[in-house]
Symmetry: C2
C-alpha cells in the first residue's frame, strides 16, 4: 500500500520533525519502495505563498541525492513529496527562501513494496512497457476525461467500471465544463456564471482543494491498479485555461508536477488534441515537454495526443506516441521511424451518438483492439452513449467523461489483455510480411488474427524445430478451444468459418534430432 497521509497528519508529522532532529529507530517513518513520502511544514501564510516562497528538499540515499520541489497547499502548509526508488535508509533536508521552512531534516526507511505495488511504468523492449520492478505492463486503457474533477458519485461509477477491466485511464488535469452547475476549479475564480463557466481567474494562485481532490482520485486509481494518464492541457475549456499567458502555463505545470510526480501511477500527457488549442505553437508544446521533463525527478512517461496533426514523436522528450487514429496498418512503419512504443489512445468510441467518432459497435471496438495488439501496438477504449432522457440515469455523464460503463467491449478488451499477459513477458511484435496478421516470438509463440477473413482452413508455417499446441480463440465470444495433438512445421488446421477469429500456437517442446536453425517467420505468399 502506498503511504498517503492526509494534510493534517502531515502538518503534525512535520511539527514532530522539527522537534525531533534524530528520531529513534522504532519511531522511524517507513515508506515502501515507490510509495509516497510526504513532508508537510507550517510556513508563511501571508502575501502570495504560491509565488513568494521557494521550498524544496534534497533526499539522500547512500551516495545519491535527489532534489525535489515542494509546493504550497494553502492554510500556511508547505509540502514536499518524494517517491523513493531504492530500499533502505533515506535522509531529507529542506531548503527555502523562508527561514521557517529552511534546513529541516528527517529520515525514513524505505521498505519492500507491497505485493500490488510494482513501481512506475517505463518504456522497455523498444516498443513496450514495464513496471520498475520488471513486472510486465501492457496498457489496455480507457478514457474518463472528467474523472479527476467530477462529483464523487460519478467518479465511483467510473472506478467501478474500470476496476478489473482497464489498467490505465486518460483524465484531464484542467477541468472541462460539466454542465451541472457549480464545479470546483483549479484557480480562484470570481464572477462565473451559474453554470460555473467564465468568470475572472486569479492566475497568481491555485485552489489547493481542486488538486487535493485530483490526488484523491489518483490514489483511488492507484489502489485499483490503474495508471493515471494525466492530460495537462486540452481545448475543452470554459474559463480561458487553454489560452493562459505563457508564464501562467509554466507556473501551472511546475505546480502540478511538484504535487503529482511522487504518485507512482502518474503519466504525463502534455495535451489532448493539442492541435485544436489554437493559441499555442509547437514551440510552446516543446517547452511544456521540457519543463515536465526537468521538474519530474522520476521521468514518468511523457506523450502528447493530437487531433489531426501528428506531433513529431521522434523528439527526445517524448517517451511514446499517443495517437488518435485507427490506421494500424501503419504501425510497423511508425514504430521503426520513432523507435518508441505506440498507443493508439483514441480509436473512436463505442456508443450511439450522432458524431461519427462515437458510435462503434462493441464488435468493432474489439476488432480494433485485436488489430492493434497483433500489430505490436496498444489501443485505448472510450465510450459515449446518449443519455436515457426519461430513464433512471437521465442527465448522467457519458463514460468517457465519467460515469457508468454501458458498452459491451470492456470485457472483451480485458480478455485480450489477459491473453497477452499469459503468453508474453515482453509484448507482441508483428511478424512483418506474414500472409495473415501474425505476432509473437519466433520459435515460441505465434498469434494469428484473421480479421474479416474466414478461411475454412489454413496451412500455418510453423518452425519444424519445435512442437506447438494450438488454441482457437473467439475474441468476441471470449472462448479458447485447445486443439488435439501437437503441431510442428507446416500445419494445416481447420478453422471456424466465421470472421474475426484468432489462433495461438505455443511451443511446448523442442523437436529432438532435427537441426535447430533460424526460425522461419511466416512466409510471404500470393
Amino acid at each position: 500500500m502506498a503511504v498517503t497521509l492526509q494534510p493534517a497528519a502531515f502538518a503534525k508529522s512535520a511539527e514532530k520533525t522539527r522537534s525531533t532532529a534524530s528520531p529513534s529507530p522504532d519511531t522511524l517513518q517507513r515508506v515502501e519502495q515507490w510509495g509516497l513520502f510526504e513532508l508537510a511544514l507550517h510556513g508563511p501564510a501571508s502575501g502570495n505563498p504560491f509565488q513568494d516562497v521557494t521550498f524544496s528538499a534534497a533526499f539522500t540515499h547512500e551516495h545519491r541525492t535527489v532534489e525535489v520541489k515542494g509546493f504550497y497547499d494553502g492554510d500556511g502548509v508547505y509540502k514536499v513529496r518524494f517517491m523513493p526508488d531504492m530500499q533502505g535508509p533515506w535522509s531529507c533536508v529542506t531548503a527555502s527562501s523562508s527561514k521557517e521552512l529552511n534546513g529541516h531534516s528527517t529520515r525514513f526507511d524505505c521498505t519492500a513494496p507491497s505485493p500490488e505495488n510494482h513501481g512506475p511504468v517505463t518504456t522497455a523492449h523498444r516498443y513496450h512497457f514495464l513496471h520498475a520492478d520488471r513486472t510486465p505492463y501492457f496498457p489496455f486503457g480507457t478514457t474518463t476525461y472528467a474523472y479527476f474533477f467530477t462529483g464523487d458519485a460519478h467518479a465511483a461509477d467510473s472506478l467501478a467500471g474500470m476496476k478489473g477491466a482497464f489498467n490505465k485511464t486518460r483524465a484531464c488535469v484542467l477541468p472541462k465544463p460539466l454542465g451541472q452547475g457549480a464545479q470546483i476549479l483549479p484557480f480562484p475564480n470570481t464572477g462565473a456564471a451559474a453554470d460555473s463557466r467564465g468568470g475572472t481567474n486569479d492566475y497568481a494562485r491555485f485552489n489547493p482543494a481542486y488538486f487535493q481532490l485530483l490526488e484523491k482520485r489518483i490514489v483511488e486509481l492507484q489502489s485499483a491498479g490503474i495508471e493515471a494518464d494525466c492530460i495537462l492541457f486540452h481545448p475543452y475549456d470554459a474559463w480561458g485555461y487553454k489560452a493562459m499567458p505563457s508564464e501562467v502555463d509554466d507556473f501551472y505545470l511546475r505546480y502540478v508536477v511538484a504535487r503529482l510526480a511522487a504518485y507512482r501511477n502518474v503519466w504525463w500527457s502534455i495535451a489532448n488534441e493539442y492541435d485544436l488549442v489554437k493559441s499555442k505553437t509547437t514551440a510552446d508544446w516543446d517547452r511544456f515537454f521540457r519543463i515536465v521533463q526537468a521538474e519530474d525527478p522520476y521521468s514518468h512517461l511523457r506523450s502528447i495526443h493530437h487531433s489531426a496533426v501528428i506531433y513529431d514523436h521522434s523528439k527526445p522528450w517524448c517517451t511514446h506516441a499517443s495517437l488518435q487514429s485507427y490506421d494500424f496498418e501503419k504501425s510497423a512503419e511508425r514504430r521503426a521511424a520513432w523507435n518508441k512504443p505506440i498507443i493508439y489512445d483514441e480509436i473512436q468510441y463505442e456508443g450511439d451518438v450522432e458524431r461519427r467518432w462515437g458510435n462503434l459497435s462493441a464488435e468493432e471496438m474489439t476488432r480494433r483492439f485485436w488489430l492493434a495488439a497483433v500489430r505490436g501496438v496498444y489501443a485505448t477504449h472510450g465510450e459515449v452513449f446518449i443519455a436515457d432522457e426519461n430513464g433512471p440515469h437521465a442527465h448522467e455523464p457519458s463514460w468517457s467523461d465519467a460515469g457508468r460503463l454501458r458498452g459491451e467491449s470492456a470485457s472483451r478488451i480485458h480478455f485480450l489483455h489477459d491473453l497477452v499477459a499469459a503468453h508474453t513477458q515482453v509484448g507482441l511484435n508483428e511478424y512483418e510480411g506474414s500472409y495473415y496478421l501474425c505476432s509473437g516470438t519466433p520459435n515460441e509463440l505465434y498469434l494469428w488474427y484473421f480479421d474479416y477473413h474466414r478461411p475454412a482452413r489454413y496451412e500455418f508455417p510453423l518452425p519444424n524445430t519445435a512442437n506447438f499446441e494450438a488454441t482457437l480463440i473467439d475474441p468476441y465470444a471470449m472462448t479458447q478451444t485447445k486443439l488435439d495433438g501437437m503441431f510442428s512445421g507446416k500445419s494445416r488446421v481447420a478453422l471456424p468459418n466465421r470472421p474475426y477469429q484468432a489462433i495461438l500456437f505455443r511451443k511446448i517442446s523442442d523437436v529432438i534430432g532435427k537441426p535447430t536453425g533460424k526460425a522461419p517467420t511466416p512466409e510471404v505468399q500470393d
Copy 2:
C-alpha cells in the same frame, strides 16, 4: 430477340443470298436493331484461309456506310457479322481477295428491337453507363472466368446462378487450364499432355469450334440480360498463349473482334491482371487497345484489369476503369482524375479458401458493394469455395471459374441493384464532404450508408425547399421500412442501433411558399 442463326443455317442463307441478288419485299430478311445480321458464303478451303483470304463487307443505311471485317469459320465457310444501329433498310456488299467471295450483295430490313433488347452499353453521364436506347444500365456483375470454354453442365449451373442476380460477367476468351482432362482450345494443338496442358500450337490457324462455343455462351448471356466482359488476355495459361509472338497476338485480336463485335452484349477487357503477364510491355497493351478500337465498328466498352500496377486509365482508348481493389475512399479522386466511370472489378471474393483474397463473408461482400455504390462507383462480385471433397459436388469448379453459386451475397447485391435502379435514371454520385457517406441527386434523392457506424439518431441536413419521404434500409436483411410522415430541412431521425444500415430520402413534393434556393449539400461537421 436477337437474330442469332446457327453456322449451318447461315451457310444456307448465304447460298440463298448468292442466288437472289434482289429478294422480293416479302422474303427480305429482317434483323432487329442491335440484333445480329450474319452473311455466310462458301469460299476457298485450301491453303490457309485464316491468313490467305481477305473478306469484308460494307453495310449501308441511307448516307452512311460501315466497313466490317469478316472471318473464316472453317469448312470453306466465310462469315461477316453486323449489328445495325438504325432501323430501316440496309444494303450490304462484300469485298474479298477471293473472286468467289467478292462483290456479293444483299439487303435486309432493320426492325424495332424486341422488348428486352436495349442495345449495347456505353458510358454516360460522365461516371456511369447507359444502353443505346437510353435505358439506364447499372453494372452489378460477377466473375465466371471459365464460363466460355467450360463444359455445358458447369456453364448451365453458372448461368442459373447469374440469372436475375447479375447483369454482367467477366469471362476469359483464352482458356484457363480446368484440370479435368482434355479441353477445347482456340488454336490447333498437337502433343498436349493428358490433362490437355502444353503441346505445340499452330498459331497460323484458329479452331473455329472453340469460338463457336464461346459465341453460344455469349448468346446465352445476352438472352439472360447479362453483359459479357470478354477478357482478351490473362496470365493463367498452360499452353503459351500469354507469350505468343506479337504478330500472333494481333492476328488473334483481329479474329476475335471480327467474330464477336456484332454481339451487342460484348465488352472488351484487354486483359485480366495484365501486369502479371511478364512477356508484354505497356506498349503492347496500348497497341492491343488501339487494335480493338480500330477493328470494332461499334466501339464496345474497353478496359484493362490490373493486379498491382494500375494502368493509366486517362489514355483515350480506355472507356472506364476496371480496378482490383476495395479502397473505395479513393473513388472521388480517381473519378475526377480519369473523368470516366469506375468499376472495382475485383474486390476480393466471397468464400472460404486459404488465400486472403478468397474468403469474405457475405456480409463483408455486401458492405463493399454498398461502399462502392454510395461512392458513385461500381463493384463486381466473385466467389470461391473449397470443393466438398466427399460430397455430391466433389471436384466441382468454383463459381468464379464456372459452376454453382454457393454464397449468400448475390441476393443482397441484386437488392442493391434494384434499389439503385428504382431511384435514379443516371446513377449515384457521392456528396463529397458529407459527414456520413451519402449519395444521390441534390434536392431529389439522398441515400445515406452508415457502414460500421451505428448512431441511435442523426440530424439529416435535407434541403428545406422540398418534402421527402424516408425509408430505412437494412442491406443484408433486404428490408425497406418506410417512416411515417414527411421530412424537410434539418430532420432528426431515430435509427436502428446496428451497424451497416442505410436510409433513403426521396422528394415527394416541393415546399410551397419558401424560396427555392440552391440545395444545401450535407454539411461538413466535426
